[in-house]
Symmetry: C2
Subunit: 439 residues, 2 copies
């Protein structure tokens, strides 16, 4: 048999292989794709953006420490070389589970059906304005690179406009930053803006006293970092106050507009409100028409599959996996471990291997950083706050960056920022010199 | 006299100092601002963007080699610490030379007048579609960071869409890139896209054969790089063909639309046309109401001032400075030297020092790069093409980067790209998975 015939036969065999469609190239989808590297399947990974994003460092893009490319890497570059892998830039609009098809929008084709044998939905989460979507235009959230550069633009522009604003009231409103929600994102953003104000911008302005800027972190519940141990939350609270962040707990936000936020019934005048209060899962539950929990996450079985559809898996932020009566939290580690797990389930079913036991989450702990030199860390019963936790935080984040190259870039930037107290990406890229912010 | 009184007296004296307004934070404006560091003046530097841009490397942002922040640095960070300097993010809309005022748009104030004693207009140039502004939406030019990321989006997206396009004709149109204009920008972009196609993307795609992409460099005149010596243009031409760029000389472009370009009367079907054909100066001439040359540049006197207004200087791309019967070219070196020069003129007038002799341009030569390992270089009578010219090109560009930090980042990226043939910033950031390019 000559080579061409062999090749044709190989191709024909390849086309016989079951097709796994993965939707989403975040931590979960990517882990699944990588783990299916040698499985006897054809894999199609669909994402609406071309890059995998390292979300834990997104707040550093929003505060001009890192450039977007330093925490993002093309999905194609990460898994495109796998011989059984096709990567497609397209948007999924639905699922027809009965006929085993995903509906895909690409080119001029809308809702084009695409067959699958196995489906992994790793479609993540977006901002949650708790029924007040009208807040979105005034208080952007932080989930993707465009969100991050948009927040960066707003924060930097506020200082620029304050520099040319004569009216003392308007000047102070420009220098008042309100962060709604004191989970890790809110805490990390607050710390980073506090330092931007205190060190980076201090010498550059003539009329603005950056140190007079106010950063107000607002939390509806009784304390910040509710998912952390109370002791760590207290330590982070104290540290935030030391770097000049004002914290308001038990303070629900009932209104946001162009002129500020209504906190605890009182108006805080501010030109920059940022929404870090919560996330809402992707509409995977609606696509499938299956039961979801209160927040809209698909209630999955112990093997992460959907009831009635053992060939459909839902993982990560968009799944509600019951763990000792509680759903697992929407963090990278859960998505990552579930991605690997469902790949092993699919592989086992196809190779008639032992089907793995139910998914078990291995909690590697939680970390949150408060500016330079300070982080809080909890792993199982162990807790730590301060400089050493910060070192651990930095090492863990570098380790988990998907691409070696990004590690070098991030380290370079961190060392440089640490030594000079400058920020490497202080760019305002939205058009116009005249505050489109308020247009 | 106590300290407060001293301070007040110093402030009062400061307010007596003549006010120099510089419009534009490019090479010219920045050089002037820096050179006025110790002059007995108050300086106000106005720019509509917050950053100084190193334009010679902009084509590397457009081709995903460098990230925007790696070639841009906040103007405020560069000169904000100078004790006599105020930096303002605002847009200039006109000049009232009779009453010595610039009109500034900022905040909600439009055309707000601002007094000056000396005015330096360093307002640069933008794209020139030679009367066909309707081409702009289909064929973006390359002058600022948004242009660069927009071109990057288009180029990367074309490959992504080709990957899911079944129709062979549409597939080929997506993989056809047309560059209109073969000056340094066109040549450098063509070389960088050729390599992106050949090396970076080669292994990542399943259905696209990136090597089958066509890159067509179109020039209305008889040869590429018209400002270079013919021998170097020939060498660059040969090299471009070696890396797979098709060159069409004597080929005017008479039409551009969503489906391609009309070149030499014939349609080239392409989904990605990039305009690198020419620049048009800023409207400084109209603002001042003074004579301009054919292309709209202000005809300046031998000291770069405007006829009838010795206190107004126009420098860089927006000035026509007569040098041996020819206007000086619109390159960074001219702007930079003129910026330093006008600062010295202002300083001399104020300190009753000897007024400097007319501006004399010191030509440090020209460089253009064609992909990896190849550049062309001419300095006075000396000419060089090939690897050593490329080394010189790299060193010169690193040397002229305004910020030390950016040097480190650019070197890191270059070395990494050189060794791995990967690109560090392959991000598509415009919204949507479904080609908004063609919406």
């Amino acid at each position: 048999m000559n080579e061409i015939a062999e090749d044709q036969q190989a191709q024909a065999l390849y086309k016989e292989l079951p097709r796994v469609v993965i939707v989403g190239g975040g931590f979960g989808g990517l882990a699944a794709a990588r783990a299916l590297c040698k499985a006897p399947v054809r894999v199609l990974l669909i994402d609406k953006s071309n890059h995998h994003l390292f979300q834990p460092l997104l707040y550093q893009v929003a505060t001009a420490i890192l450039a977007p490319a330093e925490i993002a890497i093309p999905i194609r570059q990460l898994v495109g070389h796998q011989s059984n892998m096709t990567v497609a830039l397209a948007e999924v609009s639905g699922v027809d589970a009965a006929s085993r098809q995903v509906l895909v929008n690409y080119l001029d084709r809308r809702d084009a059906p695409l067959d699958y044998d196995y489906l992994i939905l790793a479609t993540g989460a977006s901002h949650n304005y708790f029924g007040h979507d009208e807040f979105a235009q005034f208080a952007p959230g932080l989930k993707n690179l465009n969100d991050a550069t948009s927040i960066r633009d707003r924060v930097l522009r506020a200082f620029e406009i304050a520099e040319i604003e004569d009216d003392p009231k308007a000047h102070q409103d420009l220098l008042t930053f309100v962060l709604v929600g004191a989970g890790p994102t809110g805490v990390e953003l607050a710390g980073a803006i506090a330092e931007l104000r205190r060190f980076t911008l201090a010498s550059d302005f003539r009329r603005v006293q950056p140190a007079s800027a106010r950063i107000i972190l607002v939390q509806s519940g009784p304390r910040i970092l509710p998912t952390f141990h109370e002791e760590l939350a207290r330590a982070a609270h104290k540290r935030l106050e030391e770097v000049g962040v004002e914290i308001q707990t038990d303070s629900p936000v009932t209104g946001v507009d162009a002129r500020g936020a209504i906190v605890n019934g009182k108006r805080i005048a501010s030109r920059t409100v940022i929404w870090t209060a919560g996330v809402t899962p992707s509409p995977a539950g609606k696509w499938l028409g299956v039961p979801t929990d209160k927040s809209g996450r698909v209630i999955v079985r112990p093997d992460c599959s959907v009831p009635g559809h053992p060939e459909v898996f839902v993982i990560g932020d968009t799944a509600a996996f019951n763990h000792l009566g509680q759903p697992l939290p929407g963090v990278a580690q859960v998505a990552l471990q579930q991605g690997k797990y469902v790949a092993s389930v699919i592989n086992a079913r196809l190779t008639n291997d032992f089907v793995p036991p139910p998914f078990h989450y291995f909690d590697k702990g939680q970390l949150a950083v408060v500016g330079r030199n300070f982080a809080v860390l909890q792993i199982a019963g162990f807790r730590l706050a301060g400089f050493f936790a910060w070192i651990v935080w930095a090492m863990v984040h570098l380790m988990f960056l998907a691409a070696r190259e990004n590690r070098i870039r991030v380290i370079t930037q961190w060392i440089w920022s640490y030594l000079t107290r400058q920020r490497g990406s202080r760019l305002i890229l939205s058009a116009g010199g005249t505050s489109p912010l308020f247009d």
